[in-house]
Each structure stands twice: as structure tokens, then as C-alpha cells.
């Protein structure tokens, strides 16, 4: 049901006002297949539809401010803030915007929010509907970190990257896990490429379905990767609570720095984040 609500909303954006009345008559006929066969968990336990204008819901999201250690461990170039220039909820979307500006010693600003301490869960289905930005150096992500990462040092605490994307490769996203013996450049990862389409021109659903036995990665209605304990060259560290992170990084080891072709500002739009249990 929730998916259907969402799809109607996206159609309204495409079609001009006079057609909206007709749309409701027609919509039930053409929305024949709303269920994603790639997912099995349907018990919704958390959702943020980003319907309340202003700052993100503080009962669910924390800001991470600043540059972390060594650019959040990746030599990222941005300074994360909680200013509305970098993060706000507007028109039913969470907007995380990267700007090119001198700010506290950095050349770029952006934002990063987490559910650490506010929503953490072991296993389940985590998905978000996102439109990513474009351009060399832009690195948006929707990912999970083990809730004990402050004491159980990464990568031992585990990281599940549901969606990563590089702005100079607009038709491709990555899904990965990081753990002991398989982190950073050695992570277990797979890319998913759209045919005759790209991720920065429309919304796509990025999700995982995570059980003790596997993590399934999907984009829209396509399951593209399954990672099992047998697939990781080390300990399976994914049987404890994880929290959600949404961020838009600029530069760093993975994407490289923006270049003269990169257009700023760039915005990552998140329509919703939903979490289900079995």
C-alpha cells in the first residue's frame, strides 16, 4: 500500500494538473505490479516519509558535523553542517545539498545524518527512494554501520553499503559489505548498471533484505547481489544492531576531487526511508 501511495505521488509530478483527476481513474489499471518480488519482509517498523517541512525529524536523525578524522577516513573534502543550505525537508523530500564554498577551512559543504542511538536494528529490510546528483567528485551514500563502532573499531563492527554512487558514472551504483579482512578497497562489492537510463534523472529504490544467512541487494525491482557468510573472506559481523546513515560526500579517495566540469550546488533527494522486519 505504501508503495502505491508513493507511485501516485511520482506520477503527479510528471503530469500536469488537468490530468490529475483522470489519473486517479486510470492509475489502478496500469499499476498492475506494485509488489517487489525481491523482498519478503513486509512488517513496517520504521519509516520517514519526509513530509514535515524544515529540519529532519530530530527523534530519528542526528547530524554529524565537521570533517571527522582525515575527512571521515577517506580524505573527503566537505565540511558537514546542519544549515538549511546543506540539509532540509521540503515538498516531501529530504534534500542534502553539496555547495562549493569556503567554510571552516574546507572548500565544500554538505550534510550527513544518522539514526545512531535513535533507531538501530538487527536484520530486516532497509530501503530508501533516492535521486542522486551528478558530476565528478560527488559521492552520495545510503548505508549502515554497526551500533558498536565507537568501541568495536571499524571494520570489526561492520558496514553495509546499500547504495553508493559516483557522480562521474551516472548509470552505476554499488552495494558492498565491509568487515574484518574485507574492508575499504577489499570490500565485498558489486555494481549495478542501468541500461538506457541513469540514476541522476529520476528516483530509484535502493534496498537490502538482511537475514542471518544473507544480505540481498536490490534496485527498484531488480535483485542484483546476494552476499552470504560464505562469500566474505573473514568473520561475518552482521548479526547485531546497525544504524542508518545518509550523506553526500565531496571528493576523497573513492570519487576523486571535483573538477572544472562539476556543477555546484548538487542535491541528493530522498523521498523516504523505510525499515521492515520479517
Amino acid at each position: 500500500m505504501r508503495n502505491k501511495t508513493n507511485k501516485i505521488k511520482s506520477l503527479i509530478k510528471v503530469v500536469s494538473i488537468p490530468f490529475i483527476a483522470l489519473l486517479f481513474l486510470t492509475i489502478t489499471n496500469c499499476s498492475t505490479d506494485e509488489t517487489q518480488t525481491v523482498t519478503n519482509f513486509t512488517n513496517l517498523v520504521m519509516s520517514d516519509e519526509f513530509d514535515a517541512e524544515g529540519a529532519p525529524n530530530s527523534a530519528l536523525w542526528n547530524y554529524e558535523i565537521g570533517t571527522g578524522n582525515n575527512g571521515w577516513g577517506n580524505n573527503e573534502l566537505q565540511y558537514y553542517t546542519d544549515r538549511t543550505e546543506n540539509i532540509k525537508v521540503e515538498n516531501g523530500y529530504l534534500l542534502i545539498s553539496a555547495n562549493k564554498e569556503a567554510y571552516n577551512g574546507s572548500s565544500y559543504t554538505s550534510a550527513r545524518i544518522t539514526t545512531q542511538g535513535l533507531f538501530e536494528q538487527t536484520h530486516g529490510r532497509f530501503e530508501a527512494r533516492i535521486r542522486v546528483p551528478y558530476g565528478k567528485g560527488l559521492w552520495p551514500a545510503f548505508w549502515l554501520l554497526g551500533s558498536d563502532c565507537e568501541t568495536n573499531i571499524w571494520p570489526q563492527c561492520g558496514e553495509i553499503d546499500i547504495m553508493e554512487y559516483l557522480g562521474d558514472n551516472p548509470d552505476t551504483v554499488f552495494g558492498s559489505v565491509h568487515g574484518p579482512g574485507y574492508s575499504a578497497g577489499e570490500a565485498v562489492t558489486k555494481e549495478y548498471t542501468l541500461e538506457n537510463d541513469r540514476f541522476d534523472t529520476g528516483f530509484h529504490v535502493f534496498g537490502i533484505e538482511w537475514t542471518p544467512d544473507y544480505i540481498n541487494y536490490y534496485v527498484d525491482d531488480a535483485l542484483y547481489q546476494q552476499i552470504t557468510p560464505a562469500d566474505v573472506p573473514g568473520e561475518w559481523v552482521f548479526n547485531n544492531p546497525f544504524y542508518i546513515i545518509l550523506n553526500l560526500a565531496v571528493g576523497g579517495n573513492f570519487p576523486g576531487a571535483p573538477n572544472s566540469e562539476t556543477v555546484f550546488p548538487q542535491t541528493m533527494l530522498v523521498d523516504y526511508v523505510r525499515v521492515y522486519q520479517q
Binding site: 490530468f19 481513474l25 537510463d197 534523472t201 531488480a222
Partner: protein, 466 residues
């Protein structure tokens, strides 16, 4: 095994149904009504010409440049071969028009595979050259780099909805522009067609190359919108910018009592005041604007009144001018000065832009001003006079050998400072000619000195007199 799918086809299907539902309640057209339909064939050359095609070499081009090559090909049995002559011989250039108009509105790019016998840059390549429409929807990609390996190239359509009856399928112009530029080589093109790639995204149209231009304007003196481009981000993550004809854009004037703009980007000034010209391409606002500050009718420089027998004129419409090599030598490297000379009601005006220094040369013959006692010019600084204005006029005599820098040159310097200049007003500089040798004057140089930031000005009535 990957299942590559996305939800968008479903959405399009929905929209299709919506439109069907929407129009079903409209009154149907009578049976007599027929829409003209044009071929939607996208192929131009695969192994031969597709869909009815012609070949017209450009004037002065190497007539044998194009042939069909049955040895080299990317796919199938043949490719288009282009033999580019050596520097100084000629160039290769042609258009390949469709015999009948085609409806290309469903496509988003011209694509082809190409390779060359050596690394090369095609000077200009694109589509939309159609003499019947005065190239209304011409697209030009500049300096397309080719390698010796077959590679696929994409030239995005700025707004395909405009191309619903287009004949200009493909054109190119390539030649050695100097002795160091590549020439005497061959390139091949194969599988030339319009395609719907669906990965042409993030349009960023621009006018004036994205700059906000402010210009003094006069009633009756039109200004042309230039620097028209469309930029897309391609599937490979690269931005691509092409020059797009004005008719892809919709232009708007903020005040049509002051300035109006037509579909060719010609801005006509019809009133006094300020108007902003903006543009939209395919629903996207173009970066860049033109602000015209119309000061009304052009204020002409004072008309000279001296007897022509007492004057040696370098630039005026009142007197007959002596032979002049140029009024802007575009000296490189160093000079940034451009020229935008114009004429209103037959009165020619020198207009210098982006000024640092510029010269007027008279070498054949040099000017014999030995009987003259004064130097005169009129100068007009539009919009505003920069506070650091400091202007030098140098009159240079080339001496008996009549050679610039020939060892016997002499100069007179005439300084014009900020106190002598008013914005939007003609000033007169009329000073005694103090040069001892003045029978071989070869150059008059204007330059910014002491950090002066003067950028644009007009000059008229440059002459020596008694």
C-alpha cells in the same frame, strides 16, 4: 544473473493511458483532416546512404574528400571515408541533407563510430545545415578528437522537439588551419544515425557563454545574442557542449517598450531605459543574460568643420581617409582588445572591447604629416568611466627607413586622464603635434596605463590637421 529493469517504462505506460483517457472525451477530427507525416528514419549511413540522402561539398572544399570505403568499416561492408588535404591545399567540408524532411523528435543524439589515420581534431561536425531554413537548427560540435581506434561518438540534440521536419542530417568541416595542424590524413565514419540513448541528461543551456553581459545600446542599433550553447552530461559522465542555433531558444525581453528580440536572437532597441534579455531552451532557463542600457538615439561625435584641404584623416566619415592597414591588429600575444565596430545612419564608429592596448597601422605608405600641426580624435566611454581610467595615445613615426622598430622610430605620447572623460559623452582630444619627424607616421597606439581598467570605448574622427 542480473535482471536489469527499471520502473520507468511502467510510468510511461501509465502516462500513455492517461493521455488516451484524456483525449477520448475530445471531439474527434473529421476524416478529411490529415497531418503531414515525415519519415522517422534515424539511419543516415550504415553501409550506404539511408532513407534518401544527398551530398553537397561546401564551396572551396576538396571535391574528392568524401568517398565510400569498402575496406575500412566498423560494422557491415562499408564506411564513409574523408580524405583531408595538406595545409594550404584546401579543406574537407560537406553537408549530407535528407531528400525529404525527417521527424527526428523521438531521438536525443546523433551518434557514429569514427577513427582516423592519425590523432586528429575535427574542426566542426554536427547536423542541421539546411539551406531552405537558413540552417535554422544547426548544431556544431567543435574540435571533436579522433584516434586511430574505432570509437563511438555522441552529439546531443539541444531540443529534439524542434526537429520534427529536418533535412540537415550531418555536416563536417575539417582542414589544416596552419602548417602545424594535422592535414593529409584520412578519417572514417560508420553507423551514422540519430538514436534515442535516454542517457543525455542535465541540460544547461547558455547564452553569451553563460556570462551576464551589460551593454550600452542605442535606438536603431541592434545587438545580436551570441555564445549560444547547450551542455549535457553524457552516459560516460562527461559534459558535452555544442553550439546551438538561436532557433532552439525562446528569447524574452523584460521590457518590450525598450528592447524586443526575435527568434534569431536579434535584439532591436526601440526605447530608452534598461531591459534584460533572457532565454529558455527546452523548458530550461539559459545561463547568461544581456542587459541593454538604451540611452536613446545614438549621440554622434561632433561633425568636423575644418576645410578638407587642411586635414589628413585616419578615420572619419567627413573626410577621405588615408590608406590604413588596420584599426585593430589583434596583436598576439598580448593584446586582448576586440573590435565591435558599428555604423549608424552611415556614421562609422570604432568600438573597442575588452581593451588593454590596440593599434592603427599605416605602413603602405606611411603617413606624411609634415605639413600638419595638430592631432585630433573623439572618444566615447559608454556606461561608466572606471575611477582608475588612465589612457595613453602614442603616435609613432617610423623614420626614413619606414620600418617599425627599424632603429630610427620616434614617438609622441598624449595622455588622457580621468578628469577629461565623462561617461556616455563624446570628448575631444585636440593637441599640438610635437614630433620632429612626422613624415613617416606608421602607428597610432591606444593603451591602458598605470593599471587602468577601461574595457570598452568608441573612437571617431581621428585626423591630423593644420
Amino acid at each position: 544473473m542480473k535482471t536489469r529493469k527499471n520502473i520507468y517504462p511502467k510510468i510511461f505506460l501509465c502516462i500513455g493511458l492517461i493521455f488516451i483517457t484524456a483525449i477520448s472525451c475530445e471531439r474527434e477530427l473529421s476524416d478529411e483532416a490529415e497531418f503531414a507525416t515525415f519519415s522517422t528514419t534515424g539511419e543516415i549511413f550504415t553501409d550506404n546512404f539511408q532513407g534518401g540522402l544527398d551530398y553537397f561539398p561546401f564551396g572551396g572544399s576538396f571535391a574528392e574528400a568524401f568517398s565510400v570505403d569498402f575496406n575500412e568499416k566498423y560494422l557491415g561492408s562499408a564506411s564513409m571515408r574523408f580524405d583531408i588535404p595538406q595545409f594550404g591545399v584546401s579543406y574537407g567540408g560537406a553537408t549530407f541533407p535528407s531528400l525529404a524532411p525527417r521527424d527526428l523528435s523521438q531521438y536525443d543524439a546523433l551518434t557514429f563510430w569514427a577513427k582516423a589515420s592519425q590523432g586528429a581534431d575535427i574542426n566542426e561536425i554536427g547536423f542541421g545545415i539546411n539551406g531552405e531554413t537558413n540552417n535554422k537548427f544547426q548544431v556544431t560540435m567543435q574540435n571533436l578528437p579522433l584516434t586511430t581506434v574505432w570509437t563511438k561518438y555522441v552529439i546531443a540534440i539541444p531540443d529534439a522537439s524542434k526537429l520534427n521536419q529536418e533535412k540537415g542530417m550531418f555536416w563536417y568541416a575539417e582542414g589544416a588551419e596552419n602548417s602545424f595542424d594535422e592535414g593529409g590524413y584520412t578519417f572514417w565514419i560508420d553507423e551514422l544515425r540519430f538514436e534515442k540513448l535516454e542517457t543525455i541528461a542535465q541540460p544547461r543551456p547558455a547564452i553569451f557563454n553563460g556570462q551576464d553581459v551589460v551593454q550600452t545600446a542605442f535606438i536603431g542599433s541592434p545587438i545580436t545574442v551570441t555564445g549560444l550553447t547547450q551542455t549535457f552530461n553524457l552516459a560516460n559522465g562527461q559534459n558535452q557542449t555544442v553550439s546551438a542555433a538561436p532557433s532552439y531558444f525562446t528569447f524574452t525581453s523584460s521590457d518590450t517598450d525598450i528592447a524586443i528580440v526575435n527568434e534569431l536572437g536579434l535584439v532591436s532597441i526601440i526605447g530608452i531605459g534598461t531591459a534584460e534579455i533572457t532565454a529558455v531552451l527546452g523548458g530550461v532557463a539559459a545561463e547568461g543574460t544581456l542587459t541593454v542600457n538604451s540611452v536613446g538615439d545614438f549621440q554622434f561625435a561632433p561633425t568636423p568643420t575644418l576645410d578638407p584641404s587642411t586635414v589628413l584623416s585616419v578615420f572619419s566619415d567627413t573626410y577621405t581617409n588615408v590608406p590604413v592597414d588596420y584599426y585593430n591588429g589583434f596583436w598576439t600575444p598580448g593584446s586582448t582588445t576586440g573590435s565591435a565596430d558599428f555604423a549608424i545612419n552611415g556614421d562609422n564608429i570604432l568600438s573597442y572591447t575588452n581593451f588593454n592596448y590596440v593599434g592603427t597601422a599605416m605602413s603602405s605608405p606611411t603617413l606624411d604629416a609634415s605639413s600638419m600641426t595638430h592631432f585630433h580624435l573623439n572618444m566615447y566611454v559608454p556606461d561608466n568611466v572606471p575611477s582608475d581610467f588612465d589612457f595613453l595615445i602614442s603616435i609613432e613615426d617610423w623614420g626614413a627607413n619606414q620600418i617599425d622598430n627599424g632603429g630610427d622610430d620616434t614617438r609622441q605620447q598624449i595622455f588622457v586622464d580621468v578628469s577629461q572623460v565623462q561617461p556616455d559623452t563624446w570628448i575631444t582630444v585636440d593637441v599640438p603635434l610635437t614630433l620632429t619627424n612626422k613624415n613617416n607616421i606608421g602607428l597610432i597606439i591606444y593603451e591602458n596605463i598605470n593599471g587602468s581598467s577601461l574595457s570598452n570605448f568608441y573612437i571617431d574622427n581621428v585626423y591630423f590637421h593644420q
